[in-house]
């Protein structure tokens, strides 16, 4: 499986070397169909525990589809079919013993459009821990809510108005609220599907800074159509094209010296 991946030489980073970080998730020969149409073709890839991993590629190449296989979100799409093996800490997430609700708490997801519940800021964050039974008492719940909002970089902005509706926040704040919501159930992996595409540059910068801070605590996988963003936030980058994984390697290598012609054409703007 490592054969068809381009593993490039190690370069220095302030945190553990992305090549050497322990693998958190692992996909082996994963394919996805929508009805008769194959959207992902035999993708094998490892996601590092301490890494931000970016998925890039032209629109429609299957980034979101593949991302959704990592927490079985495709299960909710009628006529979507997944083949291959995906492991979380070595455990088959499509195995018969896997509790999907539990899985989605361990592998959380943040979507393109911020989608807070039409409830209070507090409730948006408290909802997950409550249904997962993570808080025994109200005080515990308060603590989880505060900690999650803090980690999401939102606490200072909302501490005095926790009972206001989540939908009253600005777009960037809503997205950080969604990240707080994902964090609240204490996940191991956070999947983000174009989390900044609806945000202005300042709100985008705040999310990117947040991703940087969350790195190390959670394995993060981010789909982005913005290559500069992939370059800024990730340690490893995977380039997808027409449902295939074309090249996967260190972000610094991919953007300065990609090995595959199709990757180069895409990132230099020669695509199509």
């Amino acid at each position: 499986m490592a054969d068809d991946m381009i593993l490039s030489e190690a370069v220095r980073h302030e945190r553990p070397d992305p090549v050497e970080t322990e693998r958190k998730m692992s996909a082996v020969g994963v394919s996805v169909w929508y009805g008769e149409k194959k959207a992902i073709d035999q993708v094998s890839i490892d996601v590092g525990r301490e890494n931000v991993t970016a998925f890039i590629g032209p629109s429609g190449c299957g980034k979101s589809t593949f991302l959704r296989t990592l927490n079985r979100m495709n299960d909710t799409i009628p006529n979507a079919r997944v083949a291959g093996r995906i492991e979380l800490d070595g455990e088959d997430i499509y195995g018969p013993d896997m509790d999907v609700v539990q899985l989605r708490a361990r592998v959380g997801m943040v979507f393109q459009k911020p989608n807070p519940f039409p409830k209070s800021i507090y409730e948006n964050v408290a909802y997950g821990p409550r249904i997962h039974g993570l808080a025994a008492a109200r005080a515990d719940l308060d603590e989880i809510v505060e900690r999650s909002l803090q980690r999401a970089g939102l606490w200072e902005e909302v501490r005095d108005r926790l009972q206001e509706s989540g939908t009253a926040l600005s777009g960037g704040q809503q997205q950080r609220l969604c990240i707080a919501r994902a964090i609240a159930v204490d996940p191991e992996v956070i999947l983000m599907d174009e989390p900044c595409s609806a945000l202005d540059p300042i709100a985008t910068a705040k999310i990117e800074e947040l991703i940087h801070e969350l790195r190390g605590r959670y394995a993060i996988v981010i789909v982005t159509h913005n290559m500069q963003q992939a370059a800024r936030v990730s340690q490893r980058t995977a380039f997808f094209h027409l449902g295939e994984l074309i090249e996967y390697g260190e972000t610094s290598e991919i953007f300065t010296n990609p090995k595959v012609e199709r990757t180069k054409d895409y990132i230099t703007g020669r695509y199509g």
Binding site: T256, T268, G269, R270, Y271
Partner: protein, 232 residues
């Protein structure tokens, strides 16, 4: 080089202009080397003065390349081979500008040497200058063609330049020992040889940048041609 152009055509034009400016600089540097040598051999102070004057064009072109490169980085956010190209262009412009300075320095010595008796190693200098000018042309051609193989060949020739320098150095030393009157003109000629040797080094550095831009990796120490000159 990628087979297709950028989706954004203006980006291609920017990069083309950058290459054109670098190529123009290379032509000027090459001319400065051969003209300064001709001025030296023919004891022609007028030509020497022209070389000194013309160096301003190289300075101006370097500034132009710098401005363009910074603009491309800021406005186009180049990636991969494009990024390497722009970075290489920046460094190459600086190297070629300094080649011009060395040629100018040779030209400036022409009036001082004009008066002196004809020293024999002078015959070695034009040959050395031809090789060096050749290396400059090859290195710049390799940049324009994005040809890593041609770039490697430039580096291989640096050894010959070092050999020339070493024999000129020894010969001039003998002259100085033979007759103290030779010391001043011989010292000027030694500086001329040293300037040529430095230009050769710079051509090698240009070739190394070309190799990096075109291939994404660096030339190994072995291919680089380590400094083999005596006396630093």
């Amino acid at each position: 080089m990628a087979t297709t152009g950028h989706t954004l055509k203006a980006f291609d034009e920017d990069l083309e202009q950058l290459r054109a400016s670098i190529a123009e600089m290379g032509g000027l540097a090459e001319a400065a080397i051969s003209n300064s040598m001709r001025a030296l051999v023919e004891r022609d102070a007028g030509t020497a003065q022209t070389v000194v004057e013309d160096d301003k064009k190289l300075d101006a072109l370097e500034a132009e390349v710098e401005t363009r490169a910074v603009q491309i980085i800021a406005l186009r956010a180049p990636m991969a081979d494009d990024l390497r190209d722009v970075v290489a262009a920046l460094k190459i412009a600086g190297l070629v500008e300094r080649m011009g300075d060395y040629a100018k320095n040779i030209a400036k010595r022409v009036p001082a040497i004009e008066q002196s008796p004809n020293l024999r190693p002078l015959s070695l200098l034009p040959e050395m200058a031809r090789i060096v000018a050749d290396m400059v042309r090859m290195a710049l051609d390799a940049f324009v063609a994005r040809d890593p193989v041609a770039a490697g060949q430039v580096c291989a020739r640096d050894r010959a330049v070092d050999d020339f320098y070493n024999s000129i150095f020894r010969t001039l030393l003998t002259f100085m020992m033979e007759d103290p009157q030779n010391i001043t003109p011989a010292t000027h000629l030694l500086f001329v040889a040293k300037n040529l040797e430095r230009i050769g080094d710079h051509a090698t550095n240009v070739a190394e940048m070309v190799y990096f831009a075109a291939s994404g990796s660096r030339l190994g120490e072995r291919e680089k041609g380590a400094d083999t000159t005596v006396g630093g």
